[in-house]
Symmetry: C2
Subunit: 333 residues, 2 copies
């Protein structure tokens, strides 16, 4: 068994072999059975539920791979709502002829990331598409988490006076993918930031429940999140260019290619909105975290300029951040 | 906006337009927000969770379409565990250039089927892949359901003496897809059986909790399910060829092409294992259901011939059902 065949997706003996030799080996847990659905203890109170699809190319990149990404993406979407990630499902569409060794590496990375994030992969599905019907492998994950009591996080909750915090330096995932595609002939030492962030969110919410929103700055980057929240909350957002943490290598690549780091994707960085008097303590807590050492306050929410995002430049001028739209460069998840 | 562009998947303004004009319109409900995950009341007791991917070609076929299929598949997987389906997520990978009108029809069908099945689509994701990177459109759904109290359904629970019941006539989905592909030049009036089966399962479990297993006979059909349960429960299964309900048109196509209807997929038919003394009443209840009017007892579980499925032919001979394996003809979900 060196490559995936259509028989691996047909539901018979070969499918069963694939499940045993790859998926069950890396995901092993008591909930994963041969039945049609996993039976699980229900969380109490309120739950969060989400899904995300992953079609990134290349599948392996500095700092991660599509498997790690597929776990972090769903874990972080749950975390953003203040929900402890509990249960994940994963669904694969695999192209006929896909190397089994590569699948094994990806699934192994998913298992490892799930263990790091303390989530359990409780159910899965595999479809094999004919040669040319899918570009290698697509993964879709879905997840359920248990909301911490007493919190109310939503993109609608940002309020004038809130501080705008990023949990780390921005744009690393988008930049890493762009370099890994090798289309521009640029070499730079940039690794993806993809990481599970529940521990970071939990630490912050353990200090204060008075946080208004977390949002994962994935597709579209921090700039898109700022515009989304400005619109959903009906507020303005002003950020300071000089306060935005950007890795020097990412900044250099952006300079060479004329890219705005605010629109480069992150996969392990969130934007947080909280009352200004909580901001310093939140940043202090985040900076102790494994993946959030570069957290910083980058701006504030304003009552004026509703639904707009403005940037105060290093020399004090204030300009409108061009609204997001159009194709991403590059597609990153 | 006639066709899907890469910008529709980039997370910016066009993604937002697509969500509003198509997904939100057909899926509208209070849980569907712009946040990263839906916040939901937690079910009580035990929950079931599952996922399934759908890449069927053609996307529209007599009796259904990939959208209806994507809801029924996950609803039925939850139902098999005795869990009332509550919440679904759906994730789309769409090829650049895909007609927006066709997407609208598919999403509309998903919305309609979800309402029929009384489930709520609480979260979604859309990725757009470049031309040639995906064959049109793939859908992945995941679902959470609430287990009815006091039941214990599992493929491991079949016992010698159990009756083997099918909830309807078999093989219609696989046969409909095969004909819709028009590769054999056969015309026959066959429609897919794709349907949500929770009401049927609930009616049976409302009569008796003494049911050992339900399993959806999708990929691989009833024959594959019988071999799976025989193996998982360590029992033999004997079925009567003459008792298996097969639509005459399906039987005719199978005869012409030399296909075994037991290995043709169903998308609205389950196999049920229950003590023999419950069987007649279960069949009577099922026959009152919208999608289960052709339910029938087709065989029994035996202590001998463990892990094997035998078929008693119309003339009384007993033969081994060839075990499943290899490619499906045709790929059906």
């Amino acid at each position: 068994m060196d490559t995936i065949t259509l028989a691996h997706g047909a539901g018979g003996a070969q499918t069963s072999d694939l499940i045993t030799s790859i998926f069950r080996r890396h995901f092993d847990n008591a909930y994963l059975t041969s039945d049609d659905a996993a039976v699980l203890p229900a969380p109490s109170g309120r739950i969060a539920m989400t899904t995300d699809g992953f079609i990134v190319q290349p599948r392996f990149f500095p700092g991660g791979d599509v498997g790690r990404l597929s776990i972090c993406g769903t874990v972080n979407d749950l975390s953003c709502m203040g929900a402890r990630p509990l249960y994940l499902t994963c669904s694969f569409v695999i192209e006929e002829g896909f190397p089994v060794g590569e699948l094994d590496r990806i699934v192994s990375s998913m298992g490892e990331t799930a263990r790091e994030a303390a989530v359990v992969i409780v159910a899965g599905d595999t479809k094999v598409a004919g040669k040319g019907q899918v570009d290698g492998l697509f993964i879709t994950t879905a997840g359920v988490g248990e909301l911490l009591p007493g919190i109310d996080l939503s993109g609608k909750n940002a309020k004038p006076g809130d501080a705008v915090i990023v949990t780390g330096d921005i744009g690393r995932h988008g930049c890493a993918i762009l370099l890994a595609r090798d289309e521009f002939g640029i070499e730079a030492d940039v690794t993806s930031d993809d990481a599970p962030l529940w521990s970071a969110v939990e630490s912050v919410l353990g200090h204060t429940k008075d946080v208004h929103a977390f949002r994962d700055a994935t597709r579209g980057g921090v700039g898109t999140v700022l515009y989304e929240i400005a619109k959903e909350s009906g507020v303005g957002i002003r950020i300071d260019r000089g306060k935005i943490p950007v890795d020097p290598a990412v900044g250099g690549v952006c300079g060479m290619l004329g890219l705005e780091p605010l629109y480069l994707a992150c996969e392990g960085t969130m934007v947080c909105f909280a009352p200004a008097d909580q901001a310093d303590e939140i940043v202090r807590i985040l900076r102790k975290g494994k993946y959030t050492a570069n957290a910083a306050v980058i701006g504030e929410v304003t009552a004026d300029h509703a639904e707009r995002v403005t940037v105060r430049t290093e020399i004090g001028a204030e300009t409108l951040l061009p609204p997001p739209g159009g194709e991403l460069l590059p597609r990153i998840c």
